[in-house]
Symmetry: C2
Subunit: 349 residues, 2 copies
């Protein structure tokens, strides 16, 4: 589908490796005071003074993590940055820099790479992170994006996965499951398109879900929100693989159990409608769907009053002793063991 | 050829993504005082105190940057780390941490990944860098390795590409061209093997060249050597794309010209013999061959006495005014314009 959208096609080999890198990176600005030297030497040079540095990295592979049939390249570039910035936010740190490496097969014209980098540039601007380095090369097949994100925080601000206590409350930002259902809608439209390329999809009923899949945002605002409420989470993680998977991560790392309440799950009305249409249980989607990039965290019980009723946060459960296990408490008040059935990049299906 | 070497084959999908990451990363030790938290959270946490931080990243793609027909996976793991550490050394900084992301197709059994990580572990130990994060996922085709390296240095120690002056001397460590000829020998043996799989190659005459290709080392010693000599380079770069390409980088960034002397090029005797056998000009190989991972740097003319006769360093030329251009002065005392004909990852051949 890329071919349809880019009438002009310039072969990337015309520019050569260095020419291509120069061309794609010339719009990147340096805005962070901690960036002393960005792109253009053997390495970037940074100075975080008395701050601690957090570092995270992710690899995105065409056909595994994204499908260019419905993922516009500009959105893909944006999302690639978001996914990494989200990991920095999940440490309660402030994102500051990223490196971006891209490998492409020769089927991609320069114009396609420009679209990808336009999305990266937009996200870098939105999240105020400097692009300080990277690598651009050819691949044997498809598009590969590798991003490393850096952030800064004071030592006492950083929140790990292992700090939850057995009496803590479990809190999530935003809503969950929408990005997964957005993907289901897009997959269905792709199948329709393959059968009848002339069909014009009406996606009005799905806009929120599709946006959550194609243009997710990292919750960089949560750090500020929590700071204003004078709450420091005891543990935190971002939701990339699915709520149940992330809850299990927090519990295992913190040696605690958890009760998650079905009736507390923050689910968007559009998700409920579309789940009915697809005949899927919306709780299953909310628990197992991934890629929401919301933050999941635990707080001390005594912080309850500070957070209750806040529209940015939903208390969805509480931690327990490790021996009590990890459970979903259904609306019918039955207790079901929570299992990670999130998306697995290494499954053979 | 991997299949021959791994009689035991465990499918990576058996372990699942998190199981695989745990399995492959469990041997990584934390040795750097600047690593506060390594693998196991959303991000690693580092503290460089009053040091500056240097960051570099590289992407290695099967079929583009390496060929598993003659590159054993353990060597590949080792070399992937070396390539990145070399960039940190080229800033005159001390390598401290790396992140490692790997994508593999299902044709790779777990035992192959274990070999790769054994090489990464060995290099991390050799260069005393902590592996602080990464990502392991599946690819549609082949093996993809993305490494980001971090290092530390005092502000006044860091050497950029743009500091060369028109009266500086040009110096290189070790010898050049050997890694390229090692690749030519391996390529020839691969062709022989394809024609006659029973042939037993006798590679005794090529051991040094092959080792330079399969097990290159980053020059982490140079920082200490120069410090002891009380020399601070004015500019520096590592030789990955070829000597001529790197000289041109230094000249362009520093706005100077250069005279490189053919008779000064440090060439190993084995390289000369093999170039004769292959009927290739050894100067061409020394100038254009890449992947030596030696350091190329400029020093003030007044530092000449400190460095002359030192077996670790060879003065191969001097910088000039920018208007004089960038030239090779041949043994016959003719002046040839230097062009970058190094390996280009984006060429269409």
């Amino acid at each position: 589908m890329i071919e349809d959208k880019t009438p002009q096609r310039t072969s990337i080999s015309q520019l050569g490796e260095f020419g291509l890198i120069d061309h794609l990176t010339k719009n990147f600005e340096i805005n962070q005071p901690s960036t002393l030297k960005g792109i253009g030497d053997d390495a970037a040079v940074l100075d975080f003074k008395d701050k601690k540095i957090v570092v995270s990295t992710d690899l995105l592979i065409e056909g595994v993590h994204f499908d260019l049939a419905y993922m516009p390249l500009k959105h893909l570039g944006y999302k690639s940055v978001v996914v990494n910035v989200s990991d920095i936010c999940a440490m309660n740190a402030k994102p500051t820099q990223i490196t971006v490496s891209v490998a492409v097969s020769n089927r991609f014209p320069l114009e396609a790479l420009e679209e990808l980098f336009a999305g990266i540039t937009l996200a870098a601007k939105e999240y105020n992170v400097d692009v300080i380095g990277g690598d651009t090369t050819s691949s044997q097949k498809g598009l590969i994006i590798s991003i490393t994100a850096l952030g800064e925080a004071d030592a006492e601000e950083i929140v790990y996965r292992d700090g939850a206590n057995s009496t803590d409350l479990l809190v999530v930002t935003g809503d969950v499951g929408s990005a997964y259902m957005g993907l289901q809608v897009l997959e269905r439209e792709k199948q329709v398109f393959l059968v009848n390329p002339n069909s014009q999809p009406d996606l009005d009923a799905y806009t929120y879900l599709i946006e959550r899949q194609l243009k997710p945002e990292a919750r960089k605002d949560v750090r500020t929100l929590l700071h204003a409420l004078e709450i420091k989470p005891t543990s935190m993680i971002d939701i990339s693989d699915g709520l149940s998977s992330e809850i299990i991560h927090l519990c295992k790392k913190s040696n605690v159990g958890c009760n998650l309440y079905e009736d507390k799950l923050p689910i968007d009305p559009q998700l409920i409608n579309v789940c009915e249409e697809f005949n899927i249980d919306s709780t299953t989607v909310a628990i197992n769907g991934g890629e929401d990039y919301e933050l999941l965290f635990t707080i001390k019980m005594e912080d309850f009053d500070k957070i209750k009723g806040n529209p940015n946060f939903t208390i969805i459960g509480h931690m327990t002793q490790e021996s009590e296990g990890i459970h979903l408490i259904t609306r019918a008040n039955t207790k079901i063991e929570l299992r990670a059935r999130g998306w697995n990049a290494l499954s053979e299906d």
